[in-house]
Amino acid sequence: MTLIETQNLDFSFNKGEAVLKGINLNVKEGSIYGFLGPNGSGKTTTIRLLLGLLPSKKDKIKLFGQNLQADRISIFSKIGSLIEQPSLYEHLSGFDNLEITRRIRNASKNRIDKVLQLVDLKPASQRKVREYSLGMKQRLGLAIALITEPELVILDEPVNGLDPNGIIEIRELLLKLNKENGITIFLSSHLLSEIEKIVTHVGVLSKGEMVFQGRYNDLKELQNNSATIHIETSDNQKSLDMLARKYPSTFSENSHIGLRYQNKEQIATICRILVESSIDVYRMQVVDKDLENIFLEITKN
């Protein structure tokens, strides 16, 4: 079942430049969907539209197969969300913040203890939120989002500003919620490295346009396809001429030549061609592009 679906979603704040251009989101039940893009690409605007915080045209957004504008209350009863910095009443305790949402969402009283335990905030639950660290506030925001055991959690930059330990804690928690409770998670980030360890699906947004959407493995496939072999020899020009006949992708760069990597047998073949032509091989190296670079390339183009 598709939990989030948008059809050609456009948005502009003024009549001028469009912030979002024809976004088609497709988030399946049970997935952890990483919504990626550099700062200012339109991630938060998309999330605000999904949560009805910005006006959208009719029938453009469907959650749980229902129209957002027509079935807002029914949809929101199944969603927990955390937008940008968590919305917290800083003069109240963590417990009171949870109690406010619990009453409105009609959750049972024992849920407060459960979610406090889940985010490891029980000992600090009676302290005022203004005394919390950023990581604690993020965890409390997450606890508020989870108070009714939602089917879908929408999180905007949930690890933004956290230290490495905090990032790991949130990541593990999200993974646990997805695996053990079957909660579908939609989370945005501007850094792929922050979420690549947990996502099953990825959508990449650049300048308001969706430039990639698919399984995380598809993104990794892109990584494999972009690996190159760097070769340094005693005669790079001669090697380039010889290899270009067999591998048209061969190119020359600084002190080495390069060509697209296909498989390990290819390395043996290249070696043989060069040695048989009396060319000394000083270095042969397979260079992978990391996902971060692929992400940057996608968003740059």
Binding site: I73, S74, S77, I83, D96, R105
Partner: protein, 261 residues
């Protein structure tokens, strides 16, 4: 119905440990304490003549103080503080993603604010009576323990004062939604306070259309205007209700259509 009661109860929880609560508690105690201080320090001038109920003076001084200096600004400050809880904590976006209609959110906020103001009167009445009797015990010459206050008059003053406040409640509810910086609505209230004093000093007939004057007009009707009564309500209190309806409609429309989190 059960849902709206739950939402209203969260409004009270949100206001916990804020200055709004202190404003209600201290506010309810301030005027009776101030009048008690005046009675104790100037008691020689206030000893009642034979057969005169001293509670009448105690009532007049308290209610004029309440209407003049206090009630308009108390209501304005309370309204601003109440709505500022969401503005200050940037929590509107959370409120709007809860499974509650915007209508519920609007009406629960307005109802909770009105309940807060009613709570002020509920606290004011026993504190006022207690202060009066305490002054009577300290200075028996004032005979406040010999006589009893006119409880019906006291309740009537509080009821009419509440009705007279409704206009500025709705105006400042609307202003506090429109302007997230609470200095703006408070400055408007101060300016309107100055205009009211000018209208009063100038014995202007237009004072009847100026909502910031209604509280004082209730406890001390301007003697240059013929007091028109409509049932139990004087004309300015009906205007207060009218202002309340008009500005509540305005703020509701604004909240439903244009208000941004």
């Amino acid at each position: 119905m059960q849902n709206i009661i739950k939402v209203i109860s969260t409004e009270f929880l949100k206001s916990k440990k804020t200055f709004a609560w202190w404003l209600v508690i201290l506010g309810a105690g301030f005027m009776p304490a101030f009048v008690s201080f005046v009675f104790l320090s100037k008691w020689k001038h206030l000893v009642p003549q034979q057969g005169h109920n001293p509670w009448e003076d105690f009532t007049e001084m308290s209610s004029k103080g309440l209407g003049f200096l206090y009630m308009p600004f108390f209501v304005v400050l309370l309204t601003c503080l109440f709505l500022n809880i969401e503005h200050k904590n940037n929590t509107w976006k959370h409120v709007f993603t809860l499974p509650v209609s915007k209508n519920y959110v609007y009406f629960s906020k307005l109802t909770a604010l009105l309940l807060f103001i009613i709570m002020f009167y509920i606290l004011y009445i026993p504190i006022w009576i207690g202060c009066g009797f305490m002054v009577g015990l300290i200075k028996p010459e004032l005979q406040l323990t010999t006589y009893v206050p006119d409880y019906l008059l006291l309740l009537s003053i509080c009821f009419h004062s509440f009705i007279a406040s409704l206009g500025i409640v709705a105006i400042h509810f609307w202003l506090s939604l429109r302007f997230k910086n609470m200095i703006i609505p408070i400055s408007i209230a101060v300016l309107c306070g100055i205009i009211w004093v000018a209208l009063y000093q100038g014995r202007s007939e237009q004072i009847n259309y100026f909502p910031y004057s209604y509280n004082y007009s209730t406890v001390s009707p301007p003697n240059w205007i013929t007091l028109k009564m409509f049932g139990i309500f004087p004309q300015h209190e009906l205007f207060s209700i009218l202002y309340f309806i008009i500005f509540s409609i305005l703020s509701h429309r604004y909240f439903m259509r244009s208000f941004k989190s």
